[in-house]
Structure formats: structure tokens, C-alpha cells
Symmetry: D3
Subunit: 148 residues, 6 copies
Amino acid sequence: MHHRARLLPVLALLAGPALAGDDVRHQRGMATLDVITGGDAQQALDRLTDIAPELGAWIADFAYGDVVSRPALDLRSRELATVAALTALGNARPQLEAHIGGALNAGCTPREVLEVILQMAVYAGFPASLNGVAAARTVFAARGISPE
Amino acid sequence: MHHRARLLPVLALLAGPALAGDDVRHQRGMATLDVITGGDAQQALDRLTDIAPELGAWIADFAYGDVVSRPALDLRSRELATVAALTALGNARPQLEAHIGGALNAGCTPREVLEVILQMAVYAGFPASLNGVAAARTVFAARGISPE
Amino acid sequence: MHHRARLLPVLALLAGPALAGDDVRHQRGMATLDVITGGDAQQALDRLTDIAPELGAWIADFAYGDVVSRPALDLRSRELATVAALTALGNARPQLEAHIGGALNAGCTPREVLEVILQMAVYAGFPASLNGVAAARTVFAARGISPE
Amino acid sequence: MHHRARLLPVLALLAGPALAGDDVRHQRGMATLDVITGGDAQQALDRLTDIAPELGAWIADFAYGDVVSRPALDLRSRELATVAALTALGNARPQLEAHIGGALNAGCTPREVLEVILQMAVYAGFPASLNGVAAARTVFAARGISPE
Amino acid sequence: MHHRARLLPVLALLAGPALAGDDVRHQRGMATLDVITGGDAQQALDRLTDIAPELGAWIADFAYGDVVSRPALDLRSRELATVAALTALGNARPQLEAHIGGALNAGCTPREVLEVILQMAVYAGFPASLNGVAAARTVFAARGISPE
Amino acid sequence: MHHRARLLPVLALLAGPALAGDDVRHQRGMATLDVITGGDAQQALDRLTDIAPELGAWIADFAYGDVVSRPALDLRSRELATVAALTALGNARPQLEAHIGGALNAGCTPREVLEVILQMAVYAGFPASLNGVAAARTVFAARGISPE
């Protein structure tokens, strides 16, 4: 907040009316989402334009522009944290697969991603971990990779 | 938050084109949050300024400014939906109590709030509903009200 | 309860042994379930007769006869509350789709149903909301409708 | 509840065909709930009469009268299953403690109850199991018992 | 896994004091897992050797060797407890089906398994129970059996 | 597995019967648990000796000895993953507080821990994140620290 509060007037003066806060957030979010999706950020959001375009906008501007882009934690740690959470919750398979891919795109090794999923056996039980491994198998196979 | 709230009108004057997107979102969110909290929006966010002021900003600007303020569904239905979700999840008691109060502040009767909580016995089980009733009892008692 | 306690003896005397409490509950539940399923209440229950007919009976008599039929909250609000809860829980896709249809059958617009699902991004996270949108897409497509 | 409990036997005599469905369900449910609560069924329901007497009625008539009283599985196995589920869900501590007590009242040994809670480390993770053990400790201490 | 299974007896002979702790745990776990899977323990673990062989080892040695093999509760009660927990959690369908089969292999009747699943309507809601019934239908159909 | 399979025969030969697999696991687990608890590993387990000493043994030997000690992912990333999962699940407050402290003990900054908790607003909703912040506030206050 502080940082943003200090930056915005400068940006506003420099860029004129065009670069209001929402633009900054959107551009920042799309850049981060492009790293995570391997360049498919716009296509990912386009899949929502039929009935929920606002959800796509919130994902770009809020989820990735406001939150995941924050520099105080690196993207690799952020994606591992997301893989951990979605493996533990166990109720969002498509998003788990997307973030297993996102962790790889952010620079994690397949082994590191797997370690987080295996660790969830301790904190969320073996069924959650087993289903996380199944998600990893799908993502790894599509990329032709394997751990180690 | 305070800081920004004081700064933004000034920034808006300096930066031209009146209200940038973020200002609109913030003011709209605070107005909705004021309805839900019965006028305590700023105090609610202030409780986060010690270690998580950005979470307060996101609650005002995104959660209430972008999402809950949308006119396509009335605030009463929105608060009942939130009470339903938090009763079913069963893992966020402080927020459940806040939204039971929020539903009342938005114009729901105690009876309507209770009906949603009772209905969760069907969709999330009796323990979830029983704990929702306990939350309602706390909120109703603090206000000196009861259903019917 | 009170009301029922007063009504039942009268009904029993008038109708003889036929209209005991269970019959009233069943008929009331089936009527409500017919609204929600668009006339397919009996077929919905028939799908359970192979191995769990008692579950079908409890759905008709208890879930819809005792709970969802209560007049103190309208069916539209009840279905929106159910859509909210099932989107947030994220672990019951067939039932979520059924109640998205149920909300529409009870008189909600596609837009209202979507708003509740979108709102769950705030209270249960974006993955839950995204999977709720996917469920809505399926139901809307089968009916050839779209929001707005 | 009280009112009905007192009225129903009389009504049954007046209205003919002996026990109507609701009376049978209620009496059966109260009998089972009395085993589980160690004779406190009525007091358990009385705690709901202030704002949610219908929830108490559903617990007696549906939850215990229709479901838990079914003879096809013994009450010990039923209570162990409930302890397993509530330990795994981890979001209903008061009900978990009640059913740990219920399992003991139904004839389970403290050791058997603990075994189910420990087993949840495998299926729902160590935090769920640890909190289940804490619930068991509270119940065992209140009764002055310990496993083995 | 294979590798170790072949190596361990040899190591045990070489290293003296007969069976070290890990061997006992592994053999005990495989024996229990063989009861639950109807003799397919090794095949179940082999499905993990491609990317997560350690998870298979933990399942054999810890989950079944340390926990589920404990004699203080019979395997029938243990499997019913697992079916209860997985039905209530509602986010691990493959494992739920495996343990419905496991309960049958451990000596439960189809009726007993169904009773636990039906009971979850009370403690985790009807959607959880309905999806548990669907899982049971799949398992029962594959075995050509039905309750009672 | 592979690694262990290679190491164990050597250890067994060197150490004789004393250092069987279980000892290695236990010592490795206690060492890791000592880092996470800031030297209180034994005291943490001692709290379980009254009624669930086996749970303490599994935590030391399996959870920390087999899983969390694996060298393929650093302990800082592991603790952040655990904080993410427990914040998202929202049903294990004591363990969440313990692992917020564990992340700090493993070398994470308060800011990094907070970032993971804030990020859960995106993946598990604002209530989960708000309760995670409350847990962090408790831990930070007890240590007299704050983020940044």
C-alpha cells in the first residue's frame, strides 16, 4: 500500500490519464500470469469471456496484479505454496494441474513440485497426496518430463 | 489505509481525470462495507493495519469495491449467500458472525438468516448447522434480538 | 414445529389414518422438489431406488418436506444459498449443477446465479469460483441460455 | 419440543391408528439419542429451543429417528464412523467431543475411539488427528478415564 | 519398492538381529494391504513407482504397517471409519471407491458399508452422502453385488 | 527410497544391530523437528505421551524423519508450503501457529510468512487469509517481531 501510494502520483503525472491504477495492476498481473502460464495469459482469460469476463479481469488485476506479483516473495515459492494449498484442499483439480505447470514455468524442478505434493501426505492425508501425484503425473507426461 | 484515504482526494486533483479506477473502487467498497458493518468499515480495516494493511486494502477495493458492490444482485441476497457458504465451510467463525450481522444490517430479518443456517443441515450436515446456530445466537444476543 | 403440532391432530382427524405426518411431509417435499427439478422430482428419486431408496425418501420428506419447504424464506433465496454453499465447498459438482438449474427453475435469472458464484471468489477463493463458473456454463449451455 | 412430547401420546390415542409416523420417529430417535448422550437427550435438544427448536426436532426425528437408529449397523460402529468423519473434517469440535462421549456411551472402549482418531492421521493428516486427540483428552479427563 | 522388497530379506540375514524395524513394518503393512486390496497390494504400490515410489513405501510401511495394522481395533471397523471420513470429505473419489472395496474385502457386508455412507447425510450433508452412494454403486456393480 | 535402500545396508553393517532403520528415522526426524520447534522437539512429543504416544512417534519417525527431512527441498520452502496448506484448510489453528513459528525458525522472514498467508486470499478466500493473519499476529507478538 505504502509503496503504491507513493508511486501512483508519479505515474499519473508521467503517463497522464491513460495509466491509472487499474492499468498498472492489469499490466503487472498479465506479466506475472504470462510467466506462470508460459505465455498463455490472454488465452487463459479468454476462456472466461463467454459468461464470466469479470472473473478474468479480477484474476489478472487482483489475483496476479495485486497479490502474486508482490516482490516480497519470489514466484517459485509462491507457486509451491499454491500447489501445497490446492493439493491439501483436494477440490480443484484443474487449478492444481495449472499451478503444477505454473511452478515448473516459474523455475521449480519437477522434483521440488513433487516434494511439496508428497509432503501434503503429512498435513492433509494420503488421499490428498495421492491425487496430487496423479495431477503431477498428467502435467509431467504432457511435457515429457519426469522427476530427477 | 488512513494514509491513502487522506491522500487520494489530493492525488485525484493533481493527477487530473478526476477519479482514477482505484479511487472509485475504494469509495464504492467502503460504502458497501459501511452498510454491512453498520458504519464500522474504517474500524474493521484499521484492525489489519498493524501487520496486514494490504489485506484491508484488498477487502475494500476488490472484495467490496469490485465484487460485493455489483448491482446485479441485491446486498441482502449476497449476505445470505455468504452466511450459507461460511456456515457450510465451518472453519471461519469470526467471519460468519460478522456476516450474520452484515445480513441483518443489509435488511434481512433474524428469521431469514436463521433459515439459511438451518438449511445448511441439508447441504453440509448437522454439525455445520449447529455451529452456525451458535454463531447466530451470539450475534442475536449482542443485539438483544431474536427470530420472530 | 408449533404450527405443525397444532395442525396435525386436525388433519389426522379429518383425513383418517391416511394423512399421517409422513404423508404431509412427503407431499410437501415432492411439490418443492418438483419446482426445483422442473417436474422431475420422482425421476430424481428413482435414480436412488437401486441401492439407496431410503436416501431418496429422506431427501423428499426431510430435506425438501421439512427444511426447504419452510415458508419463512422464499425458494429463490434458498436456492442461491445452496449454490453459494456448494460452490464454496467445491466437492459436489453434480449437486452444484442440479442446484444451478434449481435456482433457475425457482425463478432466479442466470445473472443472479452467476453473481453468487462469482462472489465465492471472495469467500472461498478463485479456484472454487472458477469451478462454479464451469458448472454454470454446463447448465446454461444445456438450456441454451446465457447471462444478460 | 416439550409441548409436542407431552401432547403426542394423547393425540395418538385420540386420532386412531396408534402411532403416526412422526411419533414413531421421534420416540425412536430420542431413545437412540439417550444412549449416545447418556440419558441427556432432552437436555441436548432443550439447548436449541431458544432460537432453533426445529433443528432439535430434526435431530431427534430425522438424524436419530430415521438414520442413526437403523438396525442394519450397530450403534458402536455408527459412533466410530461419526468420530472418524468429524475428526477428518476438523471443523466441528463441540460435536466431535459429543460423539467421542457418544462412542463411549455406546460401548466403545477409550482405546477403540483413540484408534479411529489416530487412523485419521493417514486419511486426513496429522493436524486433524492431533486435534482429535485433544478432543479425546478433554472427554477422557472429564470422565476420569484413560485408554488401556 | 521392488528393489527393496528383494533386498531386505538378504540384508536382514547379513545384518544380524533378524528383522530390523523397517522390515517388520513393511511386511506387516503389505499383509494388511493385501487383505484390503484383495491380494493386489504390490500392484497398488507399483502404480506409484513411475514418479512417487516413496509414497508407495510410506503407504506400506507407515499407513498400513504402523497404523492400520494395529490390533487394538479390528480391520472391519477401521475400513468403515475410513469410508466415513472419505465420504464426509468428499474430495477423494478414487480412494473412497478403493476403501468401499476394502471394507468388503475386510468382511463388511454391502449393507454395512451403505449404512455408513447414508449416515454421512447427517454429519456431512446430503451431497456428500449422494456422491458416496454413487461410489458404492460403482464398486458394487463391478463385483456384481447389491445390498441385501 | 533408492537413496535409503543404498544407505541402510552400510549403516547396518557399521552400526550393528543398534542402528536399525527406525533409529535412523527417529534421529533424523528429531533433528528436523528441533529446527522447526526451536529446540523443543522432545517437549512437543512429550505432550502426547499421556494418551497418544504412538502419534508422537509417528510424527518424529514418519512425518519428520521420512518426509520433511528429505533433502530434495529446503526446509524454508517446506515450512512455507505447510503454512499455505494449513491457512487454506482453516481448520487447524494450533498447528498453523506452530508452523508459522517453524517457518521463522527455519529461516523465513516474517514478511515471507505473511506473503504466503496473504496469497491464500486468492486460493482459499479472504476468511482463510484473515484467520491466517490472526495466527501470525499471535506468533509475531509472542516473539516481539513484526514484518519489515
